[in-house]
Symmetry: C2
Subunit: 415 residues, 2 copies
Amino acid sequence: MQSVTAIRHAIEAGERTPKEAVGAALNGIAAADAGVGAFEHVGDRDVILATAGRSKGPLAGIAVGVKDIFDTHDMPTGYGTPIYAGHKPRTDAAVVAMLRRAGATIVGKTVTTPYAFLDPAGTRNPLNQHHTPGGSSSGSAAAVAAGMVPAAIGTQTGGSVIRPAAFCGVSGYKPSFRLVPTVGFKTFSWTLDTVGFFAAKAADVAALAGAATGRALAVDAFEDSAPRIGLYRSGAWNEASRDMQEALAAVAERAANAGARVTDIAEPAELSAAREAHSLIQNFEAALALSDEFDRFADRMSAKLVEALQSGRNTPPEQYDQARRIARRARTISHSLFEEVDILLTPSAPDAAPEGLESTGSPIFAKLWTLTGNPCVNLTAGYNAAGLPLGVQTVAAFGRDAAALSGAHWLERLH
Amino acid sequence: MQSVTAIRHAIEAGERTPKEAVGAALNGIAAADAGVGAFEHVGDRDVILATAGRSKGPLAGIAVGVKDIFDTHDMPTGYGTPIYAGHKPRTDAAVVAMLRRAGATIVGKTVTTPYAFLDPAGTRNPLNQHHTPGGSSSGSAAAVAAGMVPAAIGTQTGGSVIRPAAFCGVSGYKPSFRLVPTVGFKTFSWTLDTVGFFAAKAADVAALAGAATGRALAVDAFEDSAPRIGLYRSGAWNEASRDMQEALAAVAERAANAGARVTDIAEPAELSAAREAHSLIQNFEAALALSDEFDRFADRMSAKLVEALQSGRNTPPEQYDQARRIARRARTISHSLFEEVDILLTPSAPDAAPEGLESTGSPIFAKLWTLTGNPCVNLTAGYNAAGLPLGVQTVAAFGRDAAALSGAHWLERLH
């Protein structure tokens, strides 16, 4: 994989120009994407190289793939659906403009599942092309994992950043809710939709997100002492495979051996209730956000999406309000998880990437944290017998993104 | 003015068809808009009448003007700026689709100030064309006040619903934050932007918003007993004109005479602090939301907008985070205002509509409640010597929209 931090170091040292670094990404896409199908659209080579040659700032020379759920003023934006075929937004999504302003070069649009929902979109897992890369940010995770680009952005409403990062063995960072503006991407559920970042390792996503937001996200929080870790098996523990359960235990043991205090943290009942409330909130909001599409274009939607939107439309507002109260209560309770620990450690997904391309896998281990808004970072805890990565995530208190990133970085260096 | 509830009654009684009711609105626009300039675009008459003829549901026969900050799939959408001239969205904003689903007929796009910010856009106050109609939902308020349409929608980030409603003498309803989805309108500030409704009286906006959202917003909360009213002069009281101060006192006295318990409520320090924090939050978020426009099209923006965006860009994230904490604290404190009262009564604006079209007036009495997310409804408390309305607003606890609407309705019936 390409590394954001390594490319930055090489450019700072004068060993490489931004144009050369971005050119290498374009070559990587040309060489590898036919087998992976990570890109929906790749920009014109000459235009991109000219842009890279002019680029300045902390992300100069960093080629970024943008999930095709984000508006881009210079590339078509289809939201994964034929309803928007050929759509050309006038302006960039906020985070796209923020990346460009920091010097990044947008090289193309990565494949998203339709409306960033659960239906797969054809991208293959670069580690084994018979397996799903996860979704909905399928192309962004796969493009980074295949070494095509050092960085990509995606979105998470259930588990759409953490799950594909886990399945593809890359770092995926879902920031605290609203830390990064959602302006300019196709809304599915406004209290859940969250922008996320993909890169090789935690240090790379931290550098990427820090440069885009101007926030202090450096991975140095645990340089002097090991983090206090809460092992959070979660109320969904029975959904985790034996491989995943063992991988989580193994990384916890490595952490303890390296000096971290590791304690078990049981899931409060309020958080189990919130996990259950996630789908109702998501579907109610999606049915409103996509009102016009549903009224005029339902025939161009999948059966699964139509079912979710119909379910949302049939939900009385009072039930939604009650689910939102459960979510607010969970957000308050979530603070108490961090009274004695810096980070939680919990599975990113039930298992490694499932075989087959007909499903993008389950968001069950990610969706609670999307609902509560806590920052999460996926890292690879180990590999199964087939050589596929088993991803776990660090979770920090709301607004303590630097702890989630630093914790993942600290754990990655134990390998 | 046309009344939503009167038109509904006439249609239900078979005295009028939906097509006739919408046709009357089109005639009203043709007759009056040349002098007012409320509409940016009016749809094709034949298409609109055919749509109205087919319409079913609680808003069948209700012609609605849509602020040109909302996407419409069948009409151009310009957000008040030449940057988006000729822009044709693929799909409707969520609230537009919700209105259509309830049977409403969208007849045109009403004038918005550029990006719904403070710069005026040429619309005149139909009550006196030398005065501003207020902004940023200038066209929506003016179109209802002039009797062109029975209903219109707008948005409020500072005071953009309550202020033009006050200046034009119509009912304006800003719902609780997020009660109505903001999906599909041009974001300025995502923690402040709120959809709002305009109609003749409180009963009319309640019927309109209730039908669009499927929520119980009927104005019957105080049928049996008078509301308990908190007279909230607010920390900005010195900004209110003598006329406004007297109008507020007069409506409070009428309410007390009619049996309402009226008590003075002083502004907590936390709420004064929140009013001060509003601009910083707004400008910080606007600078991100409009990143791409600012980077590429600043030369097509007003000096005032450029200054606000530059100020937002220069604000360190830590200052924004601190302002957001002040806002959250204010939201918590705001609940305590309603321990003993059902609604607050407070000015909508410092005075009646100012003379001249070079300013849309001050949002100072509205922006605190945009920040806290409380529901607000403007009603006319009296008139100044020039015959222009003096607007005051009812404010209810977060989520108690029916109380704000019912309170305004109860007060309107005292006249």
